[in-house]
């Protein structure tokens, strides 16, 4: 089917669907405008409508005596083909609707599993491990240039830690602790122990 403009004659299938009122609204308006100004097409449409009315009448009376009255077999063929295509198009539409719903279900399932995985990861996998994996991925894609192979001393609100390739030791302290360096390779936390009133100074060393 190619209806690119009013001046172009619609083909027989389009006219058949038009005559039966099976076209979409926009196309129906365009074809209707053409048919009003084109005597040949108008004649064709009238002929189709007439034949269809005759068939309906014959069907109702269960006597196909007017079979011979259908002079234009091509018109009937166009009507059938047009209806078949409409049916095929409709089934495709229905198929797409189902596909969209299935896709939605799949997406929701995948999103749920991803959320569950992320929650499990956050709850169960230590930050150190996560950081290690992120760092490794960054190195793979080239976002991180050089791996750091030494010892890392770090302070957090809960403690000071020394981290090597294989393990991490964190000496814990209250949040009131004051953090500082101590020596060329040590980090210190200082606080007053509430129970004993003693000053406690913790250190981690990386050598």
């Amino acid at each position: 089917m190619s209806i690119n403009g009013v001046a172009e004659h619609p083909n027989a299938e389009i006219l058949t669907l038009y005559s039966a009122g099976d076209l979409p609204l926009a196309l129906r308006l365009r074809i209707g405008r053409h048919v009003r100004f084109c005597a040949a097409c108008e004649q064709q449409v009238l002929s189709m409508q007439s034949a269809k009315a005759e068939l309906r009448r014959e069907a109702q009376s269960q006597v196909l005596t007017g079979f011979e009255a259908i002079a234009d077999w091509q018109t009937l063929e166009s009507d059938m083909l047009g209806n078949i295509r409409v049916g095929v198009a409709a089934s495709r539409c229905i198929e797409n609707v189902g596909r969209g719903r299935r896709f939605g279900f799949r997406f929701a399932w995948a999103a749920g599993m991803a959320t569950l995985f992320a929650a499990g990861w956050i709850a169960r996998v230590p930050a150190d491990d996560s950081q290690r994996i992120v760092t490794a991925l960054r190195r793979v894609v080239g976002l991180e240039q050089s791996p750091f192979n030494g010892t890392v001393l770090r302070s957090t609100p809960d403690g000071i830690s020394v981290k090597t390739q294989s393990a991490t030791l964190t000496i814990l302290h209250p949040q009131s602790a004051v953090i500082s360096m101590s020596g060329p390779s040590a980090v210190t936390a200082r606080y007053v122990d509430d129970d004993s009133g003693q000053v406690t100074i913790t250190n981690v060393y990386g050598q």
């Binding site: 169960r124 010892t151 890392v152 953090i179 101590s182 913790t202």
Partner: protein, 393 residues
Amino acid sequence: MSTANKLRFAWGLLVVLVLTPALLTAASSDDKGNWLAVQFPHDSPVISVGFNMGPSTAMARGSSMVIDLHAGLVLRNVGTKPICGLTLRVEAQDLSPHGKGSVLKPSLFVMPGEEFPVKVDMQLVRPIAAARSEVAMVQVTLDCALFSDLKTYGPDKLNSKRTLLVYEMEARRDRQFLARLLDSGRIPELREELNYGIQDFIPRQLGLELLRGPHVTTLREQSVNVNPVNFPKGPVQPLSGAAQVAGNEVRSPRVDIRNVSKLIVSSVAMGWIVRDEHGTEFVAGALTSPLKIGPVQTSFISEPGTLRFSLPNGQPMVIDRLMTFVNDVEFADGNIWIPSRDDIDSATQDHTLRRELASSPEEQRLANIYRREGTDGLRKELKRVSLSNQHPN
């Protein structure tokens, strides 16, 4: 599956479900005894007379085993002299030989025969697949004990003898200063010195990372001057300094110093002050460098590592300015110099900076007593410590 097979399968599943937690519990209780060991030398002036693991736990997280250790020790001074300070070395076999920790107790004043508690709270994260060993995962032992006569005992593998000595000298300085204020009735000054008895709930602290080993950053580096804070009567004077700063990282800080005393210097600890973009200053700590400097000689101190600073909330700190001062000096004869209160007062007019320079563990402890017990409690404590130090050795 036949009914018999179904019953067999269900029975097997039940056995597995019942036995697995029991086996895991048994394994973990076996491990708990092997988590931490406390060992002191046979001739140690302190011994452990009580030990409990409290609410220590172990759990698997990802591919790692997280062991929370909350050990409570009760130690006894079995020597003949009062103990003023103590360092316990904490070693984990998984970190050896590169990493270790310590718990240091300055300002103790434990008389012979007396007992005192020490808490060790820590967390060890190690791979589950790590090889098991007969040795405890974490070992606690004595590194150094400091007596009231400033003599020490212990292997001093962590160079904690010097640290304990510096803390003790600062403690004596601050006790004298506060006693002087009390005796002369300068109570307003005393109150100001001890922060009016107000607890500093949000101390001016910073996050710190010290990176040792090769490290490359993509941030643009710029060379900045390090401004020296001079104690006019100090034996070593910082002359100038420079460092490479990239964002919140300081690399290769270097300070030129001169020995203006008549003694040979064997090591110098330089204190570092970092000022952020808002003008807030933080004493980042002190870096001790062993170096021999003769009288009137000039030398330099440099640190090959990278220091990374962050605010307490974890945000990177933009470094605006770096300052340095001589925190303490050790001479070849073993004596140690620390800045006096007068030195600190004459070094700067900035009240906040002066306060940071004068901050010591002992002042923190005495401020805590003043906050709880007021002037009377402080006076009583100063008297008690004074008597401890007069104990015949």
